[in-house]
């Protein structure tokens, strides 16, 4: 928000009234301004440079007023006073007029085509017979500066030059030349410099050096000459000294050069409307002609008054008041928007002056009416919007879990999502390339190089900052990390993690392990292989060798726990042993009834538009499956039977086996197939993310004619690397699948009883041995220990085999080979699938 400094006494004189600070603050508040500070030049200097420098500085009271960023018409004393006077009904908004010069010949500015590559636009106008005083002059300079900093975006979009017209003679030429060929005496310098020299000179200028980059690397620099070859300015850097404005200047030539014509027009309008007040004919501006390289001529300033029609009902309805059409017209007029009741219904015609470039829609007019009415006079009402609240499932789970983790004796930490690359890589003994980290392009310090990919460094830093606290320190955090993910529109996604650390004189792995057990208990996951969770030794450079385990839930890895590597401990400036656990919590979410993730919406839409080949059901698929033709009732019946006791085609989660089967079914099955229908609807919810699903282990759908299937159709976006990669991956998968090309595969589900030698046999080891048996067409399933007596247990383990490849005798032979553990193997059950 720009701040304008005005001299208080001057302001009050112009307003024709003396306010107390509090009264003026109130007036500002009502008008959407903010009296930010009451100070003086002396105070500012003494605060910034010390008392000694301040002696002799003026102690005239200054008001620093914050102005809304789109109100360029309030950036100087003249505009502020005009706005407030109109608001207080003390003044009628002036009408700004463009006039032709008495001589009849307007000033001309000719643009040459060389400017096109560097700064193609220019506009100009003349303030005729203006009277400057020191204060007016200062304000005139200050407004240029304010405009440069705000709408002109630090002169990159627009640069303003103002010149004493009587020192130069038109027509003026706006052109662009190599810097070595531009030579002139710049403002407030005593000698001539070439443009190249100037760029060097201003390198160290605290003010001008910020603008050099705009043209520095351009082959041609923009420059404006008068008809005698005198340089008016070298925009957007500096004006010439020759045409500089003084208190005695009577006629001012204003030019704005720009890369954005709309903004140039606005800036010119602002300059001339604000200061035409001091012309001999107030609020008139003398026109200037601009000639474009293509021969087109435009006259500036535009000073365009736009008319909008709106109904008072619209204003009343949007604001929530009930005022007459006349009142609303009067309110708008107070805001410098001259309004008249047209008499047609409740219509109001509003005239938007050139000073109000911020008004671009009827809603802006409505706001001005509300401001003039007074925001604080609007009665409060309660919307009748009836809605039912829902929690975001992931946050709900997080909230519930946090409470119980604190109850488990751990204290919650809250760390930054941004950190240094070192924090997530070197310090943890990892390579940054392995992290899938999102990198920040413009960090101000090393603390903001990447988004964290793990919560662990934050917790370790929290420990380091709290080493004075009594041991043990037990901390946890549930928060998001960020990982690159090609399937998302932005190429990255958040992942909700749970991390905890235990810091004490002994590593306390059992404490962290116990916390994991407790967490699983809270999440209703049992400690067992298969559907439950178990941990298994793992290698990880962050952890002490042999002291790290991977956490598996339902057979899938969700995180790790262990004792930290001493190098990691010292790199985080810690001294004690420390154990930690970090895991994903999203897998425990269960599937919410409705996917509410917004980023799926656009992605889905774009998939349909851009990759029509990938849209579900869009490619013709075979209806021939292992269950028969699913376009026939018999096929559907067989599939329905198959799904009677299964959630998915394979395993415990949706895979591409499900989506492929889904595609094969021509239309939603009828309710006569309840199991199929349930499955169908469930699988439908996965279609948007089908590309992310695990691939199918077996082929349920049979292809009619392999060669004709074009998996990707014609793809316009072939140059897109991502698409290409995806395509290759798909083709590889497809080729792999095709090479197997099994016909109907007969399978059996077998339950084996494996008996140990005695009660001292290591059953876990035995199970490991059994599971280590690997054959093509063999898939191990769930297992359990069944007591047989005298403390002896037998291992009961299930498996699915392809009949052609694996026989039971083969299997028994392979298992009894572990004679150290296995006494005998029996087939407890055998079923054809």
């Amino acid at each position: 928000m720009p701040t304008v400094g005005v001299k208080r006494d001057l302001l009050f004189k112009a307003l024709g009234k003396t306010y107390t600070d509090v009264e003026f603050d109130e007036l500002c508040f009502e008008y959407g301004l903010e009296l930010d500070e009451i100070t003086s030049e002396k105070e500012i200097i003494s605060r910034e440079q010390g008392d000694s420098k301040a002696s002799g500085a003026s102690d005239v009271i200054l008001y620093k007023i914050d102005v809304p960023a789109n109100r360029y018409d309030l950036l100087c004393l003249e505009g502020l006073v005009r706005g407030l006077q109109v608001f207080k009904n003390k003044l009628e908004a002036p009408r700004y007029r463009r006039v032709s010069p008495l001589s009849g010949e307007p000033q001309r500015l000719v643009i040459t085509e060389e400017t096109a590559a560097v700064r193609p636009h220019a506009v100009a106008a003349v303030l005729r017979n203006i009277t400057f005083t020191q204060e007016r002059y200062d304000s005139f300079i200050e407004l240029q500066e304010k405009l440069h900093q705000n709408i002109c975006r630090k002169r990159s979009l627009v640069a303003i030059g103002t010149h004493d017209l009587d020192t130069v003679s038109g027509p003026f030429t706006y052109t662009a030349k190599p810097p070595a060929e531009i030579s002139f005496k710049p403002l407030n310098q005593t000698q001539e410099y070439t443009a190249t020299q100037l760029m060097g000179l201003y390198k160290t200028d605290s003010h001008l050096r910020h603008y050099l980059h705009i043209i520095e690397d351009k082959p041609l620099y923009p420059v404006i000459y008068d008809s005698n070859g005198i340089v008016l300015s070298m925009p957007p850097i500096i004006n010439g000294d020759h045409s500089k404005i003084t208190l005695k200047t009577k006629n001012v030539f204003v030019e704005c050069t720009a890369t954005d014509l709309t903004k140039a027009k606005i800036v010119l309008d602002m300059m001339v409307t604000m200061f035409s007040e001091y012309c001999s004919q107030p609020f008139t501006v003398e026109e200037a002609e601009v000639l474009y390289p293509d021969g087109k001529t435009c006259t500036y300033p535009e000073l365009a008054y736009r008319k909008e029609k709106l109904s008072s009902d619209f204003v009343n309805r949007k604001v929530g008041i009930n005022e007459s059409t006349e009142t609303i017209a009067r309110l708008l007029t107070k805001m410098c928007l001259r309004s008249e009741v047209t008499g047609v219904g409740d219509e109001i015609e509003v005239e938007i002056p050139p000073t109000r470039s911020d008004v671009i829609h009827a809603c802006d007019i409505m706001e001005d009416a509300a401001m003039a009415y007074g925001f604080n006079n609007i009665p409060y009402t309660t919307p009748r919007t009836y809605t039912v609240a829902n929690q975001f499932p992931l946050n709900k789970l997080t909230e519930l879990l946090r409470q119980d983790l604190a109850a488990a004796g751990f204290t919650e930490a809250l760390n930054f999502a941004l950190c240094s690359a070192e924090d997530i890589s070197d310090k943890l003994g990892k390579k940054i390339s392995e992290t899938r980290a999102v990198h920040i392009a413009n960090p101000k310090t090393a603390e903001f190089q990447v988004a964290r990919t793990t919560l662990l460094p934050g917790l370790l830093k929290t420990l380091a900052a709290n080493r004075k606290m009594p041991l043990p320190l037990k901390l946890f955090e549930i928060s998001d990390v960020v990982l690159k993910d090609d399937t998302k529109d932005v190429g990255a996604r958040n992942s909700r993690r749970f991390c905890a650390v235990y810091y004490n004189k002994s590593p306390g792995f059992e404490v962290i392990h116990g916390l994991l057990d407790r967490t699983m208990q809270l999440l209703e996951v049992k400690s067992e292989r298969g559907d439950g969770y178990h941990i298994q030794a793992a290698e990880d450079s962050t952890f002490f060798p042999g002291r790290c385990a991977e956490i598996f839930v339902g057979g899938k890895s969700v995180g790790r726990l262990g004792v930290l590597h001493p190098d990691v401990i010292t790199r985080f400036e810690l001294a004690m042993p420390c154990s930690a656990v970090e895991m994903d919590i999203e897998p425990f979410l269960g599937r919410p009834a409705e996917t509410t993730l917004t980023h799926d919406v656009p992605l889905h839409e774009v998939i349909e538009r851009h990759f029509p080949s990938q849209v579900p059901n869009s490619r013709p698929t075979s209806t021939k499956t292992l269950f028969g033709d699913v376009s026939s009732a018999a096929g559907l019946k067989a599939l329905d039977d198959f799904l009677a006791d299964k959630s998915y085609m394979e395993g415990f989660e949706a895979t591409r086996a499900d989506t492929t089967m889904f595609d094969a079914i021509p239309s939603a099955p009828s309710s006569t197939f309840p199991h199929l229908l349930r499955w169908y609807n469930h699988v439908k919810s996965f279609l948007r993310e089908r590309a992310n699903l695990p691939s199918a282990k077996s082929q349920f759908v049979l292809e009619e004619d392999d060669d004709d299937i074009d998996l990707f159709g014609s793809d316009d976006e072939d140059d897109c690397a991502e698409a290409e990669k995806l395509k290759e991956q798909r083709l590889a998968e497809y080729a792999a699948k095709k090479s197997k090309k099994p016909a109907l595969i007969a399978k059996s589900s077998i339950l084996l009883d494996v008996k140990p030698w005695d009660d001292e046999t290591d059953m876990a080891k035995m199970e490991e041995c059994v599971r280590s048996v690997k054959m093509e067409g063999l898939l191990w399933g769930q297992s359990k220990m069944v007591p047989v007596g005298y403390g002896i247990k037998k291992l009961q383990i299930g498996c699915v085999v392809e009949d052609e490849k694996v026989g039971t005798d083969l299997l028994e032979e392979a298992i009894t080979a572990f004679e150290e553990y296995v006494q005998s193997v029996d087939v407890a059950a055998f079923n054809k699938v």
Binding site: P68, K318, Y386, E605
Partner: protein, 497 residues
């Protein structure tokens, strides 16, 4: 004498005494160290109302070791004088005496002796007066006899300076009978035991009183982070008001959703590298809804839907740039776009509380990331009064009832209002949040019906938390530099009180 013996003797003396006994006196009578007697008094005091003891302290002067020596043998200078026989003494001889050096200089300054430096065989000391009066010794003797009060303060201080005297504070007890005085001691039980409950002996026992002045043992427990406690409360408030939580778990956002879809022009200063974190990897976003993107492009560059637009050259390259989201309004935009894709519009109330990122200069109240609280209501025909009414309800739940609204500017809301509340402590109006009505240029390209108005407001989570928990430096609250003691000691969060 055994400890028990001291206790009994003491009790008997108290019984016999009229009014009470002094511990110091009793100790000297019994011939035990005073400290032992004090121990006895303390243990008797622990028994309820057996005795009463009043702490008394008295000061007296005592001689130091050197002082005692002087009281016995005279001051050093007097001893020097006495050592010098009438025929004199060689200075070297005198210096060999233990008191020689100090005594000599004092005796010289008293002019009791003189030195003949020219004497053959080295300097020799002679008496210069006939008799002396050893005042130092006399004074010390007075003190030793317990008559220190006869000396003037100045004199005592003079002797104290010479380390001959010291002032000693003696603490003693004045012991009297308590209301339950008896000469026999029954030891009370400290705690109730399972045995006492089993055999009923608790009925006869006396129990030692608890000291209720002391603090209890701190429970072994975990703690929730203060900022998260406040977040929970804000979440609760929104849920109470029927708002549905938005999925804000996407820190990385495209400029398109963060700015362009909100009708924030591409040259807006907020989109500068000074204010926004841009992402170098993955640098660009893909997969925008293309028709919508075209409509957004048009409203920026040409206008439409009754708007003049910004009339500039809108570039997709700028919209594609990935950033760390600068506000959760990016998610609101996605949600509203999704709402607009519904076949039939249904009213919606959304909220979120999550992290946002600004590439700002850090100080005591600003961090590069903070939590934004946001509420959004979309319905047909909402008014500015509705927004103010909703804000009033929301802030009332925070315990803030006095609100005032100031016109403000925001590229994507019109009208825009800053919300001020009257701070009773500071006695002034302070800004508590921002609010507004989303511009039609943002909503209509999404495809929302024309009569749908969307009101929204936002505030930071950190500011109310810092006020609530009295924290001045934001770094003590958020991030690894957190003061864990503050987390341990933090109270529960009740925003309305």
């Amino acid at each position: 004498m055994s400890d028990a013996g001291v206790l009994e003797t003491l009790l008997r003396r108290i019984e016999a005494a009229d009014g009470g006994v002094d511990s110091l006196e009793t100790a000297s009578v019994l011939g035990v160290d005073h400290q032992v007697l004090v121990g006895a008094v303390k243990s008797l005091l622990a028994l309820e109302d057996l005795i009463a003891a009043e702490l008394r302290s008295s000061k007296h002067w005592e001689l130091s070791g050197e002082g005692t020596e002087i009281a016995e043998q005279g001051s050093h200078e007097a001893r020097v004088f006495c050592s010098v026989p009438p025929e004199g003494l060689p200075q070297t001889e005198l210096m060999k005496l233990s008191f020689g050096k100090i005594g000599f200089s004092k005796a010289m300054s008293n002019k009791w002796v003189k030195v003949d430096k020219t004497h053959e065989g080295g300097p020799r000391i002679f008496r210069s007066v006939e008799n002396i009066e050893d005042q130092v010794r006399d004074k010390l003797l007075l003190v030793q006899k317990g008559n220190a009060s006869q000396l003037e303060e100045k004199e005592k201080n003079e002797l104290k300076k010479r380390k001959l005297l010291s002032e000693v504070t003696v603490k003693s007890y004045w012991i009297t009978k308590g209301s339950c005085f008896s000469t026999t001691i029954t030891k009370p039980e400290t705690e109730l035991t399972p045995e006492m409950i089993a055999n009923g002996s608790w009925k006869e026992k006396k129990f030692k009183p608890y000291n209720f002045e002391a603090l209890g043992v701190a429970p072994d427990c975990g703690h929730l982070h203060p900022l998260m406690k406040v977040r929970t409360q804000f979440r609760q408030i929104f849920l109470e008001m029927g708002f549905t939580e938005m999925p804000t778990n996407n820190f990385i956002e495209s400029s398109f959703w963060n700015f362009d879809s909100l009708f924030q022009p591409q040259q807006h200063p907020a989109r500068d590298a000074h204010d926004t974190f841009f992402i170098s990897d993955p640098a660009l976003a893909h997969g925008f809804p293309l028709e919508y993107l075209e409509r957004v492009k048009k409203i920026h560059s040409e206008g439409g839907y009754g708007s003049q637009g910004y009339k500039y050259d809108w570039k997709i390259e700028e919209a594609q740039k990935n950033i760390l989201r600068t506000h959760t309004t990016a998610v609101s935009a996605r949600m509203l776009y999704k709402l607009a894709q519904q076949e039939k519009f249904t009213p919606a109330k959304y909220f979120s509380i999550d992290r946002v990122f600004r590439n700002e200069t850090l100080d005591a109240t600003h961090l590069a990331e903070f939590h934004q609280i946001e509420g959004v209501v979309a319905d047909r025909g909402l008014t500015l009064g509705d927004l103010m009414g909703t804000l009033h309800q929301f802030f009332t739940k925070l315990g803030i009832t006095k609100l005032r609204f100031k016109p403000a500017y925001n590229p994507y809301t019109e009208p825009s209002m800053e919300v001020f509340s009257y701070h009773e402590g500071l006695k002034k109006w302070v800004e508590v949040g921002n609010s507004g009505v989303f511009r039609p240029e943002m909503l209509l390209p999404m495809g929302l019906p024309e009569d749908v108005t969307v009101i929204a407001w936002g505030l930071s989570l950190e500011r109310p938390t810092m006020i609530k928990y009295g924290i001045n430096n934001i770094r003590e609250l958020v991030g690894h530099k957190v003061d864990l003691q503050m987390v341990y000691d933090g109270p529960i969060c009740r925003l309305e009180s």
